[in-house]
């Protein structure tokens, strides 16, 4: 009989790996982005199993909720030419394969080293009644209130800058202001020119 958490972990891990492969193999960029959403979702499930519920929620809210939606918008708005992206695949393959091999070797070195197994030995599982969201919230709004406020100010700068740089009132559009139209007076449009009638002549 398999342990229940192991079963869940395996399920999440398998889906995560499969969606990771899906991201790079899907032909349609929208599908690839959706696979990435799935990958984030399963990764947050894994974090939940590690009792890191704050990270799990933040991953879903920030990455799935905000970043990926934005990403999908961009992918759908821009008509990406897929054939041009695939061009030069064989040309770049040797370099890419070299980098990939290097990364695999590095990971193997880390995983097989003697230190790897000892990493968790100094750590203890937190008691069940501790919520790390609450703990983070407590220090964020007390000890770190100054950096927290500064981060808020930086976001305000971002808003001001984005609006200042992109909002423009174009003079060449044929936009009409209805209020202005309604307020028009006869003498703005109509000019009465006194003319002698033909009979007098």
């Amino acid at each position: 009989m398999i342990d229940f958490p192991i079963l869940i972990f395996s399920a999440f891990a398998l889906v995560l790996l499969a969606s990771g492969v899906g991201v790079i193999t899907a032909r349609n960029p929208v599908h690839a982005a959706l696979f990435l959403v799935l990958a984030f979702f399963t990764a947050s499930g894994l974090w939940l199993m590690l009792e890191a519920e704050f990270l799990a929620i933040a991953l879903v809210l920030v990455y799935v909720g905000a970043v990926m939606v934005l990403f999908l918008f961009v992918v759908m708005m821009l008509n990406i030419d897929l054939d041009r992206l695939r061009e030069g695949f064989w040309k770049h393959l040797p370099l890419g394969a070299g980098v990939a091999l290097l990364m695999v070797a590095e990971m193997l070195l880390v995983v097989t080293s003697k230190q790897f197994g000892n990493l968790g030995s100094g750590l203890h599982a937190a008691p069940g009644n501790i919520s790390n969201t609450r703990e983070l919230g407590l220090v964020l709004y007390t000890d770190y209130v100054y950096p927290f406020e500064l981060a808020a100010v930086i976001l305000l700068v971002a808003i001001v800058a984005a609006i200042a740089l992109t909002l423009r009132r174009r003079k060449d559009t044929r936009h009409l202001d209805p209020a202005w139209q309604v307020r028009v007076r006869a003498r703005d449009r109509l000019r009465i020119v006194p003319m002698r009638s033909e009979k007098d002549q």
């Binding site: 000890d143 209130v145 950096p147 930086i154 800058a161 200042a164 740089l165």
Partner: protein
């Protein structure tokens, strides 16, 4: 969970500035295009208020608050006051320039105030996290300001370059800071300094982190080999923004060096001294030699900034209190000179004409002898000719280096400033010996003319009587670094 409310009194200037700029941001919405002057007036009022809080709240002793993240000391107060003054003058000089170019908008003023807030946060930062956040606040506002004239391809290009390189430099800096955190286990400057002194930190990791920190700092100060953004940003940005970029952020960069290298990593002085020597000598060489070849005065002043910042580093790398005070004097003097130089470029410009070429200064004496005289004062001060504040700034920095026993460095610096004198004197030659090409009358607002006159005369007066300012810098540094 008990939580003691932090002592907010030392933070009043920052809080006032933030409240005022938020109020301006909203008030600007209800100001019609014809009354845009009101936004400008509110901004100047906000600056006066901030300066008032800075002066009235000065205690003369270092104080920390927010659990040691914020430090308020005489050095910080003085630097913030100079930054506020520089921003106020910059806004006064650029008013008509902005009005003529559609930049006289609420966003311009608000972004300038945001950048000033970033500078003040950096000056008072006593924690790596706060230092970084202040830096990003300044960089983001500056980037938006550079790009504000977005129909100009040159501005957009400059903003893009600045944005990408600033992100890279921030990455380098953060990497270095994370190494320091790993080695010492703390983000607080004082605790980092203690951990290094106690010898518990691994020296190899410390020096490794230090290299990245110095690289990040060098970028922010704009010194060789991290200077590539400076000429493009100076030339590409609207002159009003160039004036800002060349003044107040230099104060923040100086404070950045003092807090991080001297405050937190002071015991690694022998390591960063040699790095700064290389950076400083290269900056003076590249800055001065390249400036000779420029025909655009904004670009020429950009290279001159690079060489001045190299000079500034000489004071810091001498590693003594006298050297730090000399560097502080240098940065204040430089801000004053730079304000004057760009202020005159703004004065000469008019609608559709920028006055940013060296040839635009030809025969200025025949067109307007007073403005030519003011420019003469600023140029001889930048060149470091006696009886100007620039001379005493160079002298005090060089004597600090001499006290540290690096005679060869003094010789190199003097040679470099001799090379530099050439291109400053060329501006004077163009103004006094050539015939004017442009005969349009020079028109400017009265406040601009009066302030620029006072600014240039301050360069002269501080050159004759430099002692009060030197004493002020020395007192601020000794009172701040004692604790």
């Amino acid at each position: 969970m008990t939580f003691a409310t932090p002592n907010l009194v030392p933070v009043y200037p920052e809080m006032f500035l933030l409240a005022a700029l938020s109020a301006i941001l909203i008030a600007d919405l209800f100001v019609s295009e014809a009354h845009r002057f009101l936004t400008y007036a509110y901004t100047q009022l906000a600056l006066v208020g901030t300066a008032g809080f800075l002066v009235l709240g000065a205690t003369g002793v270092p104080l920390t608050t927010f659990g040691g993240m914020f430090v308020d000391d005489p050095m910080g107060r003085t630097l913030k006051l100079v930054a506020v003054l520089a921003v106020a003058l910059m806004l006064a000089y650029s008013r008509s320039y902005n009005q003529q170019r559609g930049l006289f908008r609420g966003e311009f003023h608000v972004l300038i105030l945001f950048a000033l807030l970033g500078i003040m946060v950096m000056v008072s930062a006593n924690h790596f996290l706060v230092l970084y956040l202040g830096l990003e606040l300044l960089s983001l506002s500056m980037c938006a300001l550079i790009a504000l004239q977005r129909d100009s391809a040159q501005s957009t290009e400059a903003a893009m370059k600045y944005f990408v390189l600033a992100a890279l430099a921030s990455g380098l800096l953060l990497y270095g800071l994370s190494m320091l955190y790993g080695a010492t286990g703390s983000l607080q400057m004082g605790l980092v300094a203690n951990a290094i002194l106690s010898g518990s930190a691994d020296p190899a990791i410390l020096v490794f982190g230090l290299v990245f920190v110095v690289a990040g700092l060098a970028f922010k100060l704009g010194v060789v080999p991290f200077h590539m953004w400076v000429p493009d940003v100076y030339e590409g940005a609207p002159t009003a923004v160039t004036l800002f970029v060349s003044t107040a952020p230099k104060i923040a960069a100086f404070a950045f060096f003092m807090r991080l290298l001297v405050g937190a990593l002071g015991s690694l002085v022998s390591d960063w001294q040699s790095m700064l020597i290389i950076v400083s000598v290269l900056s003076m060489l590249v800055g001065n030699v390249t400036a000779i070849a420029q025909t655009n005065i904004k670009r020429m002043l950009a290279y001159s900034t690079i060489s001045h910042m190299g000079f500034l580093l000489l004071g810091i790398l001498s590693g003594s209190l006298g050297g730090f005070a000399a560097a502080m004097f240098y940065v204040v003097a430089y801000v004053l000179m730079s304000l004057g130089a760009f202020g005159i470029i703004l004065l000469l410009g008019r609608e559709g004409f920028e006055a940013d070429q060296l040839d635009d200064f030809k025969g200025l004496n025949k067109r307007n002898p007073w403005v030519a005289f003011l420019m003469l004062l600023i140029m001889i001060s930048m060149a470091g000719v006696p009886v100007s504040v620039g001379f005493f700034a160079k002298l005090s920095v060089l004597s600090a280096v001499l006290d540290a026993g690096m005679t060869w460095l003094v010789v190199v610096a003097v040679l470099m400033s001799l090379i530099g004198a050439f291109y400053y004197l060329r501006v004077i030659k163009l103004m006094y010996m050539d015939e004017p090409e442009d005969t349009a009358p020079i028109v400017a607002e009265a406040d601009h003319r009066i302030l620029i006159g006072l600014n240039a005369l301050a360069v002269l007066v501080l050159g004759i009587l430099p002692q009060p300012l030197i004493d002020l810098c020395l007192a601020s540094i000794t009172q701040s670094m004692r604790g």
